[in-house]
C-alpha cells in the first residue's frame, strides 16, 4: 500500500526521559504564567510586549516549521516526485512547529480568554497584519492536520476514509502552499508596521515580506536536511544524503537571492555605511552574514554537497542565520524607546525550551507509532 512504515522501536529511551524532564520544567513555568500572570514569569515590560515566546515560538518557530511548505512546493508545484519520501516527516515537523507557534501566541497573549474573538468575523480589523498572521496560521494548522492525516488513517486501516481523503487532498495541498506564502510574508510586514523601532539595518520597508519569505523557504529546506541528517545519525536510519543534496541546491539559489536583495537594498537605501559603524547592530549583522555565507560556500561545491556532515553543518548554519535574522530584527536590535531593555528570564527561556523538548518527544513518538518515515531506499 504505502512505502511509509512506522519505526516501531522502543519509545521510552534515556534521551526521551531527559527531554521529558526539560518539558516538565517548561510546563511548570507555563502553569505559573497562567496562575500568577505574565509578570511573574517573563521579563516583558511596557515597551517590549513581545519577548522570546513570540519571537522564537511564532516568528522563528514557524520558519523552522516551513519544511512542509518548502517540500510541498518542490514536490507538488515543481513536480519533483523523487523528494516525496521526505514529505511526511517534514509535514509532521511542520505540524508540530506550527502548533507550537499557535500555542505560543496563545500563552503570550495578556488576555488569552479573549482569544476566541479572532474567530468572530464582525470583530475583524482588515488593516491588521496580526489578523492576517493569526487567521492564516490557525487555518494552516488545520490544513497541516489534514495533510498529515493519511499517516494516521493508514495506521488505523481506515481505507474508505483514506480513499475519500486522497481524492480531495490536492485541494488542501494547494492551500497548504498558499497559506504559508501569505503569513510568512506577513511576518515581514509586521516589521514594516513596527517602523522606526526596527534597526535601520533590518528595516527594508517594502522588501520585508520578500526577505521574510526567502528566509522562510531557505529555513524550510534546511530543516528538512537537518531532520534527515539527525534521523540518520540518531534513529539509525539509512542516509538520505543523495536526496538532501538536491535541496542544498535550492538553498543556494534562494539564499543567493536573499543576500543579493538584502545588500542591494542597503546600497539603494544608503545604509551600507551603517555596516562599518562597528556598534552592536553592525556586529550582529556581521555574525548573521557569516552564518549565511557558510552554507553558501559549502553548498556551492559539488564535492562538499555530497558529504552528509558538511550538508548538515550548512543546514544548521542556515537555520541559525535565519533565526538570528529574525531575532535581530524583532528583538535584539529592536529599539522601542529610550531606557527600555529586555532579556528573557530563566523561566521564560525554560518554557520555550520545554516546549521544544515536548515537540521533539511528540515527533519521536509519532514516527515510531505511525507510518511517517519512508521505507528504506529511495529508488521509488
Amino acid at each position: 500500500m504505502s512505502a511509509y512504515k512506522p519505526l516501531g522501536s522502543r519509545i521510552v529511551t534515556p534521551p526521551f526521559i531527559a527531554l521529558g524532564v526539560i518539558a516538565a520544567i517548561g510546563f511548570f513555568f507555563l502553569a505559573m504564567r497562567f496562575i500568577y500572570g505574565m509578570g511573574s514569569v517573563t521579563n516583558l515590560n511596557g515597551a517590549h510586549a513581545w519577548g522570546i515566546w513570540v519571537v522564537y515560538d511564532v516568528v522563528v518557530g514557524t520558519a523552522f516549521a516551513c519544511g512542509g511548505y518548502a517540500l510541498a512546493i518542490t514536490v507538488y508545484v515543481l513536480n519533483k516526485g523523487k523528494y516525496h519520501p521526505l514529505i511526511r516527516p517534514a509535514l509532521l515537523a511542520s505540524l508540530l512547529g506550527y502548533a507550537l507557534g499557535g500555542l505560543g501566541a496563545f500563552f503570550d497573549m495578556g488576555r488569552w480568554w479573549q482569544f476566541y474573538n479572532i474567530l468572530l468575523p464582525w470583530n475583524w480589523n482588515f488593516n491588521s497584519v496580526m489578523l492576517e498572521v493569526g487567521l492564516c496560521v490557525l487555518t494552516y494548522i488545520l490544513v497541516l492536520v489534514i495533510e498529515f492525516s493519511p499517516a494516521v488513517l493508514e495506521h488505523f486501516g481506515a481505507k474508505k476514509l483514506l480513499a475519500v481523503l486522497n481524492k480531495m487532498l490536492f485541494f488542501f495541498i494547494a492551500i497548504g502552499v498558499l497559506l504559508p506564502t501569505m503569513h510568512q510574508s506577513s511576518l515581514g510586514s509586521l516589521l514594516i508596521a513596527m517602523g522606526y523601532k526596527v534597526n535601520p539595518l533590518w528595516q527594508t520597508w517594502q522588501l520585508q515580506p520578500l526577505l521574510a519569505l526567502l528566509t522562510a523557504l531557505c529555513m524550510g529546506f534546511s530543516i528538512v536536511v537537518f531532520e534527515g541528517s539527525f534521523a540518520t545519525a540518531g534513529l539509525r536510519r539509512p542516509s538520505e544524503t543523495p536526496l538532501l543534496k538536491g535541496l542544498g541546491m535550492a538553498i543556494v539559489g534562494l539564499l543567493g537571492a536573499f543576500l543579493a536583495v538584502r545588500f542591494i537594498t542597503l546600497l539603494v537605501q544608503g545604509k551600507l555605511g551603517l555596516l562599518f559603524a562597528f556598534d552592536f547592530a553592525s556586529f550582529m549583522f556581521l555574525v548573521e552574514t557569516v552564518l549565511f555565507v557558510v552554507p553558501l560556500v559549502i553548498l556551492l561545491s559539488p564535492k562538499r554537497r555530497e558529504n552528509g556532515g558538511q550538508l548538515l553543518i550548512a543546514a544548521v548554519s542556515m537555520l541559525l542565520g535565519g533565526a538570528l535574522y529574525r531575532f535581530d530584527a524583532f528583538l535584539i536590535t529592536f529599539a522601542p524607546g529610550v531606557g527600555y531593555s529586555y532579556f528573557p528570564s530563566v523561566p521564560e527561556i525554560m518554557v520555550t525550551v520545554g516546549l521544544i523538548a515536548f515537540e521533539i518527544m511528540a515527533y519521536l513518538v509519532l514516527v515510531k507509532l505511525f507510518p511517517v518515515m519512508h521505507d528504506a531506499g529511495h529508488e521509488a
Binding site: N45, G46, S239, G309, S341, F343
Partner: protein, 373 residues
C-alpha cells in the same frame, strides 16, 4: 464654478472663497468623504440658482435642535438658513405670525411640491387624536402627515423627533412618538441626540443637496457616517477601559486622573453616536459630556437615554471588561541580562552546535557505506 459664481457667492454669503471651501472640506471630512465630495458640495451651494426650500416643524420639545444650530460656527445659523437654504417656515425663527405665516407655508409647500426638505424637531403626541400639541388649530400629527406627503426628504432632528425623546419615557401621557412611527413606509432620516450635533444635520442636508440622495442609513434610519459606531469605540478614555482603570466615584483619584467613566454609569458602550469624534461647540479640548468628566447618559439611543437610570451600568455592546486585569508594570530600565538566563541561552546554543557537530561526525563516518541504504 466660474469667476462670476464665486463673486456672486462671496457677496451673497459675505465669506471669502477660501472660508467657503474650508467649510465644505470640514463637512466632507465629518462624513468621511473625499475632497472631491467637498468640491461637489461647494458647487451645489454656489451654483444653485434657487435655494432649496426647507419646511421646519416643531412638536413637543424644548427647541434644543434649533438651539444647537445656533452654536454652529461654520456656517452660523443665519448664514445657513438665510443664504444657503430657503427656510420658508420655522415657528421660532419666522418674522411673521398667525394666519400670515401659515398661509406662507401652504403656498410654499404647494409651489415646491415634491422638492422641499421637511425637518421635524420634537415628538408627536398621538393620544386622543393628537390634541395635546396644536399649531394653528391643527394637530402636530396632521401637520406632519400633510407636510410629509410631498416632501423630497424628511429629517427628524433630535431624539424627540427620532424616537420620542424625553416625552416618550416614563408614563408617556400624550403617547408621544417619533416621526417615522407616524409615517410608516416613508424614509425618515433620524438624527437623535439631546441636543443633536449640528454638524450631523448640516452634513446630511449638504449630502442631500449635492448628490440628490440621502446618506447611507442604518436599520434605525440613522446616517452611518455619524451613528455607525458606539461612542465607546472612539472614546479617548477607551484605553483606560481596556486597561481596567476606572473612576469609581465622582472626585476620586481615578476621576481626577481622567480614567474611564464606565463604572459611574457611562452609556458610551451602548450608544451609537459620533460625539467622541467631533465633540460640541467647535472649541475642541474635550467639550462633550465625557470630556468634562460626566458619564454619557445615552441621549441619542432609544431605550437608554431618559429610560435607564443615569448611573446604572451600561450594557456593553462590544466586550465587557474582565473582573481581573493583569498587572502591567512599566519596568523601565529593567535589569537586562540575568546571569542564569545568559548561562541558559549559552547552553541552548551550545547544545545545538554540539549536537550538530556530533551528528556531522557520525554522518561522515557512516555516510558512504549507507548511500544505497
Amino acid at each position: 464654478m466660474n469667476e462670476h459664481d464665486i463673486e456672486r457667492l462671496e457677496r451673497r454669503l459675505g465669506m471669502s472663497r477660501r472660508d467657503f471651501m474650508k467649510f465644505f472640506a470640514g463637512l466632507a471630512a465629518t462624513m468621511g468623504l473625499s475632497s472631491f465630495a467637498a468640491e461637489a458640495m461647494a458647487e451645489a451651494v454656489a451654483v444653485q440658482r434657487k435655494r432649496p426650500v426647507v419646511i421646519w416643524l416643531h412638536g413637543q420639545e424644548c427647541t434644543g435642535p434649533s438651539e444647537t444650530l445656533l452654536r454652529a460656527e461654520h456656517p452660523t445659523l443665519e448664514r445657513l438658513l438665510l443664504d444657503m437654504i430657503s427656510l420658508d417656515y420655522h415657528q421660532t425663527l419666522d418674522t411673521g405670525a398667525g394666519h400670515q405665516v401659515e398661509a406662507a407655508k401652504e403656498a410654499s409647500m404647494a409651489a415646491n411640491k415634491g422638492q422641499y426638505l421637511l425637518v421635524v424637531e420634537g415628538s408627536i403626541p398621538t393620544k386622543d387624536g393628537g390634541i395635546y400639541c396644536k399649531i394653528a388649530n391643527k394637530t402636530m400629527l396632521e401637520h406632519t402627515k400633510e407636510a410629509a406627503e410631498n416632501a423630497a426628504a424628511i429629517i427628524a432632528f433630535g431624539s424627540c423627533a427620532s424616537w420620542g425623546g424625553v416625552q416618550s419615557s416614563g408614563p408617556n401621557p400624550t403617547e408621544a412618538k417619533g416621526v417615522h412611527e407616524i409615517l410608516p413606509g416613508k424614509t425618515v432620516v433620524n438624527l437623535p441626540g439631546c441636543p443633536p450635533n449640528p454638524y450631523n444635520f448640516l452634513a446630511t442636508v449638504m449630502h442631500f443637496l449635492t448628490f440628490g440622495k440621502l446618506p447611507a442609513l442604518d436599520a434605525q434610519g440613522r446616517p452611518l457616517f455619524a451613528y455607525g459606531r458606539l461612542i465607546h469605540e472612539n472614546c479617548y478614555r477607551r484605553p483606560h477601559f481596556d486597561a481596567g482603570r476606572f473612576a469609581e466615584e465622582f472626585g476620586d483619584e481615578g476621576h481626577k486622573q481622567g480614567y474611564c467613566l464606565y463604572k459611574l454609569g457611562c452609556k458610551g458602550p451602548e450608544t451609537y453616536a459620533n460625539c467622541s469624534v467631533i465633540e460640541f461647540n467647535d472649541i475642541s479640548g474635550g467639550t462633550w459630556p465625557i470630556g468634562v468628566g460626566h458619564p454619557c447618559f445615552g441621549c441619542a439611543e432609544k431605550g437608554v437615554g431618559f429610560t435607564k437610570p443615569l448611573f446604572s451600568l451600561a450594557d456593553v455592546k462590544t466586550h465587557t471588561p474582565p473582573a481581573m486585569f493583569p498587572e502591567i508594570s512599566q519596568r523601565q530600565g529593567s535589569s537586562g541580562v540575568g546571569t542564569g538566563a545568559a548561562l541558559l541561552t549559552g547552553a541552548v546554543v551550545g547544545a545545538v552546535v554540539g549536537a550538530t557537530a556530533m551528528a556531522a561526525k557520525k554522518l561522515n563516518s557512516t555516510g558512504d557505506s549507507d548511500k544505497q541504504g
